[in-house]
């Protein structure tokens, strides 16, 4: 279970999160929606442990572990996965090498045995087929020269491969066409189960047509102003953020 309490975060001396609290129980998929600049990406980076985000107050725990005290790679090993809004390129680093290194690092962290090259290839090819990815994507550099859609697919491949306990999807839907959007949704849906939870951060409701969330939270000016069931997303779509923000104020 992910539990965030009264989280205050500064970026370059400017307060971005103002006492954010929320809980994502294991097995549930929660959506966070909010207008631009409300702190959505800040929340995802703070949870994953990126540098430059100063926690001033509050706590974030995952399955009882103090996330904020852990290094990014320790959080990854604990089962936290972040699907990036704009995945970076790693020129010359073969995608296969990268994926296998990551998978084995995570497995080591979990006390599981590492995969050799042949075992790994078998597993990754299976996952790639499900995502409609061609074999040559393994030979290319990580995200090197990938289109926007290919990068997002590669993120989903990593998520499926690393099998996290909680996946944070930071506006993974931005810039995707409807087919790619559906693929992202299908990947998340396929992973749903009692041991998996997800925090789907999105600006638009359309992704939530495909990933039906258990809860929807509205983030505005650095805190959750209202929460509800899936119909809250529909209401937002119909009335816009302004109305909801005003009603909550």
């Amino acid at each position: 279970m992910l539990r965030i309490e009264n989280l205050h975060v500064d970026v370059e001396g400017k307060r971005i999160l103002h006492g954010l609290s929320m809980t994502v129980p294991s097995g549930e998929v929660h959506a966070i929606m909010g207008p631009n600049g409300s702190g959505k990406s800040t929340l995802s980076y703070v949870l994953a442990g990126r540098g430059g985000y100063d926690v001033i107050e509050g706590t974030a725990t995952f399955d009882g572990q103090d996330l904020l005290a852990m290094e990014p790679e320790e959080r990854a090993a604990a089962g936290v996965f972040l699907a990036f809004q704009s995945p970076v390129e790693l020129p010359g680093v073969g995608n296969a090498t990268f994926l296998r290194t990551a998978l084995n690092a995570i497995r080591r962290g979990r006390g599981e045995s590492e995969y050799d090259a042949m075992q790994f290839l078998k597993i990754v090819r299976g996952k790639m087929a499900a995502l409609g990815m061609k074999d040559e994507m393994l030979k290319r550099g990580v995200n090197e020269g990938f289109s926007g859609g290919e990068k997002k697919r590669n993120e989903m491949l990593q998520m499926a491969l690393l099998a996290p306990k909680i996946a944070i999807l930071d506006e993974t839907d931005s810039g995707l066409d409807i087919d790619a959007l559906k693929l992202v949704a299908d990947t998340v849906t396929a992973m749903r189960g009692p041991a998996f939870s997800a925090l789907v951060i999105t600006h638009y409701q359309r992704l939530l047509d495909h990933i039906v969330p258990d809860r929807v939270h509205v983030l505005s000016a650095g805190r959750i102003i209202t929460s509800g069931g899936p119909d809250l997303a529909l209401k937002l779509e119909a009335e816009g953020y302004a109305g909801v923000v005003k009603a909550a104020a």
Partner: protein, 497 residues
Amino acid sequence: MPAVAETLETVQTVNDGGYKWGFETDIEMEFAPKGLNEDIVRFISAKKNEPAWLLEWRLRAFALWKTMAEPRWSSARYPAIDYQDSYYYAAPKTTLAPKSLDEVDPELLKTYAKLGIPLREQEWLQGIAPSPDAETGRMPVAIDAVFDSVSVATSYKERLAKDGIIFCAISEAVQTHPELVKKYLGSVVPQGDNFFAALNCAVFTDGSFVYIPKGVRCPMELSTYFRINAKSTGQFERTLIIADEGSTVSYLEGCTAPMRDENQLHAAVVELVALDDATIKYSTVQNWYPGDAEGKGGIYNFVTKRAACRGARSKVSWTQVETGSAITWKYPSCILQGEGSVGEFYSVAITNNRQQADTGTKMIHLGKNTKSTIVSKGISAGHGQNTYRGLVRIGPRATGARNFTQCDSLLIGDQCGAHTVPYIENRCLTAKVEHEATTSRIAEDQLFYCRQRGLSQEDAVGMIVNGFCREVLKELPMEFAVEAQKLLQISLEGSVG
């Protein structure tokens, strides 16, 4: 399989950081008196039992050297070197001219075992390709082991002799094949070529000699492993490789030294000669002691390496991975005389802490339709300074000559420097010369991305750097690519705070 695919295991086997080749072998040594003068030159020549012509040759070089000034045009900065405060000859007492591996001092064999250099031989039958070692999974490699001033062992000599290949210490070749040595020694790098080459000609002690006869493809990798062990000693090795018509050889050198507070000089000369249709692949994994984090100690690596592509369609390919040394000053070059001859230079140079490297190549196009490729990857971390310096010269008769140069620099941290100094001289209208250069930095978002996927910071840096160097590492013989990747990782340890 691309070399980079092995990165993971490699990187993970490296858990003890620092310079782990820095130990010293305790062995009884014989030294020449300290300092440099004509008597020392005579002493060395006498120790090697050299013919008169070679002593004369050395003395001529020494006379030239005395008239020359140390070059200071490179970007490296260092205090004046006292050439009288060093030993020019140091040899283990027990191992003068051992006939076989069994006669080599066990202390030396232990040293090489500790360095991971297998000197023992493995049998294989005529006509059947060598197979990997059962224990290590490595292919057998013929090794010439040079310890300070002498070659202490050369493996697989008899096996190679079956194909007419000569692979031995150069001091031995002077005795056994004087006609070849006399014909080619100094024919690529003459005595007065430059200050350090002249010094080497006067006092060179040992190194490898390779001759590949006409039409022979050398059946295994040849390798020389240079080890500086003695204190206050310079190493002046001399290597000469001749590939006769239609022959092929791949050669690799490696180097290490103990950790010491003093700077030690390594001034080598390597000459390669490729005749018609011959191919020489020369790879270097240079890992001399780089000095400590404050820049104390370390090897001054001032080296002259040059290849003469004399024959038509001959080809020489230099690949170097330079991770060690306090200062590196070297420009492995190709003189492309033969029509359609090809020169290649692939380089990775890392400078961390206070290391300085000024390295690159010279491609001298003289013949028609000659072709050269230069790929240089410089990585600077800590307070390291890294300079690529390269010359591409196209002579008036080199019609149809082509060069492609790519220089990439990677910066880690904000205290280091990268410099690119290309010289292009074109005297031929039909020649085509291309130069590309980039400078980049390991971005915080790349590191974070890797760490979010479970990689430690050091592994992430290693992976990004190996990716950056991929084009060069894939040129290394497979057996050494893994080694080189490991080195890159170790060399950069602690470079990201």
